[in-house]
């Protein structure tokens, strides 16, 4: 990034110097281009080729911590690892996980739902961006202290419903949904503050990492009224 900035400054300085020279040699009332055409002004030196680059920006849209009221074993427990251990008493239809078998369908037990963090990613640079990934999703308490990093399951392109391929063309925008394992006991994790916020870290090839900070977050309500 610093190299790019330096290149840009040098190029602009050279360009400004040549412009000044031409204007001074021609009729000041003339525009720059005719002035150069009417004089023996040397052709402008070709500016050094600038390296194009992607410029990514993230916008926070929404987030919730999921709901694991009826399936706490599916939620994230700090220090418990990413793969929950099976409940010894569970089996068959009562089996753990977000789903159980009923015919050919997979129906969640009650309203078990993973957490999600929705964001808009835009590329205002002049080059395509690639290798875009969400590297980390960190949960903070309302008072600001970090609670932990939540396991990311998927990053979905909301428009297509497919997994995000990590690329974003210049001038393109995409809405993404990051699915993650929310805390099994959000209010324990947030220490009765009942709120906090998430911070997503985004990385991409040839681009500095950056963060997208969410707003007030809570578990997904079991009943929305």
């Amino acid at each position: 990034m610093k190299t790019l900035t330096r290149t840009l400054i040098v190029s602009l300085t050279l360009l400004a110097a040549s412009m000044t020279a031409c204007v001074e040699e021609g009729d000041p009332k003339e525009t720059l281009e005719p002035a150069c055409q009417q004089t023996s002004c040397e052709p402008e030196p070709e500016p050094e080729p600038e390296s194009s680059s992607a410029l990514l920006k993230g916008t926070y849209i929404s987030a919730h911590l999921g709901t694991y009221t009826s399936c706490p074993e599916d939620g994230y427990v700090p220090g418990a690892g990413l793969t929950p251990e099976p409940d010894e008493e569970s089996s068959g239809d009562q089996a753990r996980g977000a789903c159980f078998a009923e015919g050919d369908e997979c129906t969640p037990i009650m309203n078990c739902e993973d957490g999600q963090f929705s964001l808009r990613l835009s590329n205002s640079g002049d080059a395509d961006a690639s290798g875009i990934i969400i590297t980390q999703l960190e949960l903070f308490k309302g008072s600001g202290g970090s609670v932990g990093t939540l396991p990311i399951a998927d990053v979905i392109n909301v428009e297509t419903g497919l997994a995000f391929d990590g690329t974003l063309a210049a001038d393109e925008t995409v809405n993404l949904r990051v699915d993650f394992m929310g805390p099994a006991s959000p209010y324990d994790m947030l220490e009765q503050e009942h709120t906090g916020h998430l911070e997503a870290t985004v990385a991409a090839d040839d681009h500095e990492d950056f963060k997208i900070e969410g707003q007030d977050i809570a578990a997904l309500p079991d009943v929305a009224t």
Binding site: T59, N111, H194, L220, P221
Partner: protein
């Protein structure tokens, strides 16, 4: 001899009675709501009079913002299907054709469709119970005149899954009367039956009781009575604890809009024309009036009740401190929505029956008056009889 306790009703905010014709107010401001983000933001802020509540914080952090938040969400799908109780027949409906209504009648017609058909939120037990007529009857679910389940629709969620969802009409269209609370609907029992079938503990849900829903996930049992939706245009607050101030009719539209967003897991938002239409429709609902008002009862009412249930406000009022009425104060203390107060509900539709009070703890009006509602009020048998007659005319 009426012994009054007039201090029993206090007001927490400066209530501004709504303008005479709320729908006209909305028709004049349709473009503002649909296109002016700053208008919507200001209306939200005006309605969140307790910004420290988590209900308010979530909305203030995400709604009507220029550079982030729920305004950036994609729109909900408006194609749904109603289903027969045995799950065999599915009838597809397109709720909205994309044309902005131009007249009051068109807005109300769209609002009525939204009321009955737009999915408010999915619920896993609905997927399970939607083809079990016997259990539906146990839960108090109803069917419409065309034979479909009332207030239950099938839709495709943002992840492409076919789901069952509730609509406004599930809880607020009892026996086909739009606005009337479904007093015998026991959504807690529906959840409990499903939990039992899956070997989970049904206790939490089986304790709700008919006509009530626990709307806060705070681990505290404080199920609230499903309200009638009559006289909303005169009410100063929404929610049982009055967490939303009706600063203007737009407060209602924003309350609905954010309700749908939360019901759809913060992944979709409704087209604002739908929530604007729904607000108009709800504001237009009127209770059936079965009897001629008793003039003697009206006199008793004016002396004993009108201080809180103002006739000028559709027999509703502002807020009453929770400890100043004979009622369980627990829901007023919820960290999610508790304001320390309860909303004085409109009595329009009281003749449709109980249970009454915020937690549906009193079965009927006679019992309510006998309890000394709001607190230690004494009526003679003649006064109570006259008052009952009057209340049954509302």
């Amino acid at each position: 001899m009426i012994t009054l306790l007039l201090t029993g009703c206090t007001h927490a905010t400066d209530e501004q009675p709504a303008e005479t014709d709320s729908i006209e107010w909305m028709l004049e401001r349709t473009d503002l709501y649909l296109t002016d983000r700053e208008f919507r933001r200001a209306e939200l802020e005006a309605s969140m009079w307790k910004p420290e509540l988590s209900y308010a914080r979530k909305r203030l952090a995400a709604y009507g913002l220029e550079d982030r938040g729920w305004d950036f969400l994609p729109l909900m799908d408006t194609r749904v299907a109603t289903v027969s109780p045995d799950g065999a027949l599915h009838t597809t409906h397109e709720i909205f054709d994309g044309e902005t209504p131009q007249t009051r009648e068109q807005w109300l017609e769209l609002g009525e469709r939204v009321f009955h058909l737009l999915p408010m939120r999915r619920d896993a037990y609905l997927d399970w119970i939607a083809d079990k007529p016997q259990l539906q009857r146990e839960v108090g679910m109803q069917t419409t005149s065309d034979g479909s389940l009332r207030g239950v629709v099938e839709y495709t969620d943002p992840r492409g899954r076919t789901r069952m969802a509730l609509t406004c009409g599930t809880c607020h269209a009892n026996n086909g009367t739009d606005g009337a609370a479904a007093r015998s609907l026991d959504l807690g029992k529906g959840r409990a039956l499903f939990a039992e079938a899956r070997g989970a503990d049904p206790l939490e849900f089986s304790q709700w009781g008919p006509g009530t829903v626990d709307v806060t996930d705070d681990g505290v049992l404080d199920a609230l009575a499903i309200p009638n939706l009559f006289g909303v245009s005169e009410q100063s607050h929404l929610n049982r604890s009055g967490a939303v101030k009706v600063a203007s009719p737009a407060s209602l539209a924003i309350r609905f809009e954010t309700q749908y967003i939360e019901g759809h897991s913060l992944e979709r938002r409704p087209d604002r024309r739908l929530t604007w239409a729904l607000a108009m429709y709800v504001l237009s609902l009127e209770a059936p009036t079965p009897e001629t008002p008793s003039s003697e009862g009206r006199k008793v009412f004016d002396q004993a009740c009108a201080n809180c249930h103002s006739p000028e406000q559709g027999y509703s009022g502002g807020l009453v401190a929770a400890d100043e009425i004979n009622s369980d104060p627990q829901a007023s203390q919820s960290t999610f929505r508790g304001t320390g107060f309860y909303k004085v509900p409109s009595l329009m539709g009281a003749s449709l029956g109980g249970p009454f009070l915020h937690d549906a703890s009193v079965d009927n009006l006679d019992e309510l008056l006998a309890s000394g509602h709001p607190k230690n009020q004494q009526l003679t048998p003649e006064e109570r009889s006259a008052l009952l007659s009057f209340l049954n005319s509302l």
